[in-house]
Amino acid sequence: METLAELLPRAGGVFVQMEDEIASISAVIGASWTGAKAMTATSGPGFSLMMEALGYAVFTETPCVIVDVQRAGPCTGQATRVGGGDVMQCKWGMHGDVEIVALSPWSVQEMYDLSVRAFNIAERLRLPVFLMADEAVGHLHETAEFHERIAVEQRDRRKGLPPFGHPDPGGVPPMPCFGDGENLLVTGSTHDDRGYRKVEEPQVHARLVERLRQKVLLRRDELVDVERHMLDDAETVIVAYGFTARGALAAARELRGRGRKVGLLRLRTLWPFADKEVAALDGRARRVFVPEMNHGQVAGEVRKHFRGDVVGYGQTDGEVIPVATIVREVERIS
């Protein structure tokens, strides 16, 4: 955020340091409705504070990007140490049933590339998109390539159409903005396709919630992003994400050197979950190993979709998982 404070005004943008994280995400939503691309970044307790307004963003279909640099919780925990315990929180931390999109970078390059992707998905689908980094990635210093030109999704601001309804399952309505002369009515209560409150009609609520879910679920093939390493003949597959995946790739290579048939399925999206990609490991892979900086938040999802053995390894001491630990644990279960 300190860098944005320096750079955003130079690029014609606006930076404001609000009084707390609730105010920050609230200001982001207000700004987004004027047509601006808006984001905030936080960690740990700040992410918890944002949950109510994130539900508002989902329900009012407000594009925005939230960077969560995960740290070791719960609570204040280890303020500047690494953690990965917010994987479920970004999906289920809001009350109610929601589908969101969460990306998982493992490098400085991906902090950049996935930020661009996050904004484009947010604008295309009208929802909050989470860049679920962790402290280790957040403090990395390494080379990265910044592009001269990037693809930028332009918001569909067509006027005259219902801004909160679409005939198709999972359809995304256009989003004209404040000042466009559309007399917009935006509310976090259950609303019809023009924004009128309809809190006592079960069908209106059910239809709205379902369309918001299907916006993500029907597009899972274009959203889910994985990277496959040495999977063709792998008997043991490591499923990893974020900084941990760097150690997992190094471990897989070392284990290959020792004659073990080990591969890596790296998740660059956490949500929607890569269920098909995990299920596709069935047949060749005998077991899946999931190292992560929490106690099994992704391992549990993997178990739902992979029929063989799934072994989780959770480390939550504020340190990254060493390559040697992953090598040792994979050898132990193989």
Binding site: A23, S26, A27, V28, G30, A38, F178, G179, T187, Y196
Partner: protein, 273 residues
Amino acid sequence: MTRSFEQYLRPGVKATAFCPGCGHGILLHGILRAVDELGLDREKLLFVSGIGCAAWIPSPHILADTLHTLHGRAVAYATGAKLANPALTVIVVSGDGDLVSIGGNHLVHAARRGVDLTVICANNEIYGMTGGQAGPTTPVGAISATTPRGNPYPTFDLVKLVLGAGAAYVARYPVTQPRPMTDAIKKAIRTPGFAFVDVASPCPTQFGRRNRFEDVGALYDRTHDLVMPREEAAMRPPSELAGRLVVGEWTPEDLRLGAGIAHDGPGPGGPPC
């Protein structure tokens, strides 16, 4: 409401959520009259509200862009919208519980920053919609759903609070004085920077019934009787100002002069700031 104001109402909204005798309808009229008299470009007009009865004053009634937000957060949403598009005239309308209790931090920080917002507080001295619980503006001794033996805590003086936080313009009037109230709203909108209007708006259902007002008229009589112009208040000792509704307009200049801001506070009070 005269029919000429119907052009400002959203088509299809047939009835308000306000109880019989609620002051919020008078305030709605005052806001629309202010917008009309100022000749504001309605395409660039944005109303932001939080949660509660007062949040329904703009949403869904007013035919303009309206952002009906979360409990307490209206000022923060409005800040983001105004900074991202300074061409918008942004007016926050919400209640005392919403703006001052759950949203109190956003209120004072927006005033401190001097964001060009107009914030209108429909102050009914109680949490109305959620069931008549006490808030930071509930008078000492008043009966509420959560103070069945009388509210033991002193109130915030919103004029002092917001002026002290850095507002460029602050006013207080009750809905029983609709013309000065409307003029204050107009001044607040025209003020560059942060402007705040504290509007006393009686709540017969949650406040009046519990506090033994025989009817709506008696509750409005109370509001009317509590009014004291700030000029008069400046000449009275603090002991005579307890519980009074000191009305008028204030600017940062008043902080410098240190006069005329004293108000209610039946508690220990303290000197006028």
